[in-house]
């Protein structure tokens, strides 16, 4: 497995498309961070220095988007690019039969490829965060506190799980579809669907299952909205957004929309406007994190089982 993993790593880092995407991500991230820093400066003008300034660099939108939104959007592309041809490229090159006739277990092939992808994602994300942290240190002149660093670490882990989901999905498609183009298209289609259309679909599904007849009937509206929210959580993009929100913004007290806030929460919201400690933020989002890991594992698991039972020969 390690042999395969090592070869795949070497392949990733020498492939042109990966390097292109890597440069693109770094450039956009730098620009976004630069704009965010300007806005943070503006926002802080005249105020006493508040805590958690450092994290604001990641969540404040620049001209178009914040860094977090950027990763939520482009992260999947990274996963897809590394996974969409994992298995069917070996079929295409006719190396799969040869590879599987070496003294290795069949699952070592898919495990090695997945692991190589995860390691690459980790390297990209760590270097990205380090770069931005360094940039923040210089431009903002603020040293992040331990808690902020811890929050960034949690954010890093969630992001890796998130991109790994897309990697697992792309590998699954590379097993199911024989053609490189089909598996790439399928992954991208799902990416676009989850990123842009999941909201509509969730609303539509909720409207059919729990229709709102009377806009003033609070119970109906709440039930409808809860259902729509639950549906939208199927989308890893939504999950990721809600999971990272409270982690990077200590003032955010709920992962969901305003309507799901319980009276108790609303009450406490009134009473103190102070930041939540990290463990409280974690408490809010841990179901999201678990759900996302579960989605990743399910995706990888389906691919794993399919691959183990699949005929080797291309039909």
């Amino acid at each position: 497995m390690w042999t395969i993993c090592r070869k795949e790593l070497a392949d990733h880092f020498s492939s042109t498309r990966f390097l292109l995407l890597f440069c693109l991500i770094f450039m956009v991230a730098l620009v976004a961070a630069y704009m965010a820093v300007e806005n943070v400066h503006k926002a802080l003008e005249g105020f006493p220095k508040s805590s958690h300034v450092f994290l604001m660099m990641f969540t404040t939108p620049g001209k178009f988007f914040s860094l977090v939104q950027f990763v939520a959007f482009f992260g999947p592309l990274l996963g897809i690019i590394m996974g969409f041809d994992a298995i069917n490229r070996e079929r295409h090159l006719r190396t799969l039969g040869k590879l599987l006739s070496q003294p290795i277990f069949r699952d070592a092939v898919i495990n090695g490829k997945f692991l190589a992808g995860v390691i690459t994602v980790t390297l990209v994300m760590v270097s990205l965060l380090l770069l931005l942290t360094g940039m923040g240190l210089v431009t903002l002149g603020v040293v992040p506190g331990w808690e902020e660093i811890a929050r960034l670490a949690v954010y890093l882990i969630i992001s890796i799980a998130y991109i790994s989901f897309w990697l697992g999905l792309a590998i699954l498609f590379s097993i199911v579809f024989r053609s490189l183009a089909t598996s790439a298209l399928a992954s991208v289609a799902l990416w676009i669907f989850f990123s842009f259309f999941m909201g509509f679909v969730a609303d539509m599904a909720a409207d059919t299952l729990r229709p709102v007849y009377n806009r003033r009937d609070v119970e109906q509206v709440v039930a409808n909205d809860r259902l729509a929210h639950a549906f939208s959580l199927v989308s890893p993009v939504v999950l990721y957004g809600e999971a990272t929100g409270p982690i990077l913004d200590p003032f955010q007290r709920s992962a969901g929309s305003l309507l799901v806030i319980t009276p108790m929460e609303a009450f406490s919201l009134e009473r103190f406007r102070g930041p939540l400690p990290l463990d409280q933020s974690m408490f809010i989002v841990w179901p999201h994190i678990v759900l996302m890991m579960a989605l990743t594992l399910i995706c990888f698991g389906i691919g794993y089982v399919t691959f183990l039972r699949q005929e080797i020969r291309t039909v």
Binding site: T3, I4, R6, K7, L93, R94, T95, G97, K98, L99, L100, S101, Q102, P103, I104, F105, E311, I312, R313
Partner: protein
């Protein structure tokens, strides 16, 4: 002589179609065995089952004393399998491709380099080892395929159409190479082919498979006697065509 490959009632069905039916086959240690049959006869399917790459629907096989379904790893460690139309990582050099195979077989360092170099020398690619495989000719690819098998010091070679797409000169060289490996290193060889005169030249025994059934098994002389072929030098082509017409 001991049987190195042995199958009993080996059967493989794809849906309603039977690709291999009730195959009883023995290959002896030290021989070159020719596996003949028209397209779609089930040769490749049989080979895949011997390596544990496809599960049989019924029957069983033993390769080097191991069951390919339950115990494929020791088989894969000692058997060199050249698939029909073998492929390589085109963006790596010949040496790098061999290195990957050596790594996958867990061959440790000074030994691996030694084996790679000697394999390249044996197949006559020592000077081209650092070219990208994408730039190799068909004949060079086929020889690189053999080199990949030699890296793991196999006891048994299973070659699926090793001369496919080679020119006459390349074909002859490939056959000489196979015969030489068999003679000088005592490697048992099982090869499938359509090219009867080549098979006749190097194989000690042949099996003829038609539509999933093994219709004949033995030395060429034996088969000729059984079929009452013309006297004089028996010609495999004639024997084959007789079986083919009967099937």
């Amino acid at each position: 002589m001991a049987a190195i490959i042995q199958t009993q009632g080996l059967t493989r069905r794809y849906g309603r179609q039977t690709a291999v039916e009730q195959l009883d086959l023995e290959v002896q240690e030290g021989e070159i065995f020719g596996f003949l049959g028209p397209n779609g006869a089930g040769k490749t399917t049989t080979i895949l089952m011997l390596l544990g790459l496809t599960e049989p629907s019924a029957g069983s096989a033993r390769v080097l004393g191991y069951d390919p379904v339950r115990d494929p790893l020791p088989i894969k460690r000692q058997v060199g399998y050249l698939p029909e139309n073998v492929g390589f990582y085109d963006d790596l050099t010949g040496r790098e491709n061999l290195r990957y195979i050596a790594d996958l077989n867990g061959i440790p360092e000074p030994e691996a380099t030694e084996k790679i170099e000697s394999a390249l020398r044996t197949v006559g690619l020592a000077d081209e080892g650092d070219k990208l495989v994408g730039a190799y000719s068909r004949g060079m690819r086929q020889r690189l395929g053999i080199a990949e098998l030699l890296v793991k010091d196999p006891r048994l070679l299973i070659l699926d159409e090793p001369t496919l797409g080679l020119d006459p000169d390349g074909t002859n060289k490939m056959l000489d190479l196979i015969r030489d490996l068999n003679r000088s290193r005592g490697i048992t060889v099982m090869l499938s082919s359509h090219l009867l005169d080549q098979v006749q030249r190097i194989c000690h025994r042949v099996g003829i498979m038609i539509k999933g059934r093994l219709v004949a098994l033995g030395t060429i002389e034996e088969l000729a006697r059984r079929k009452g072929a013309d006297s004089g030098r028996p010609v495999l082509e004639e024997i084959y065509m007789r079986y083919f017409r009967e099937a």
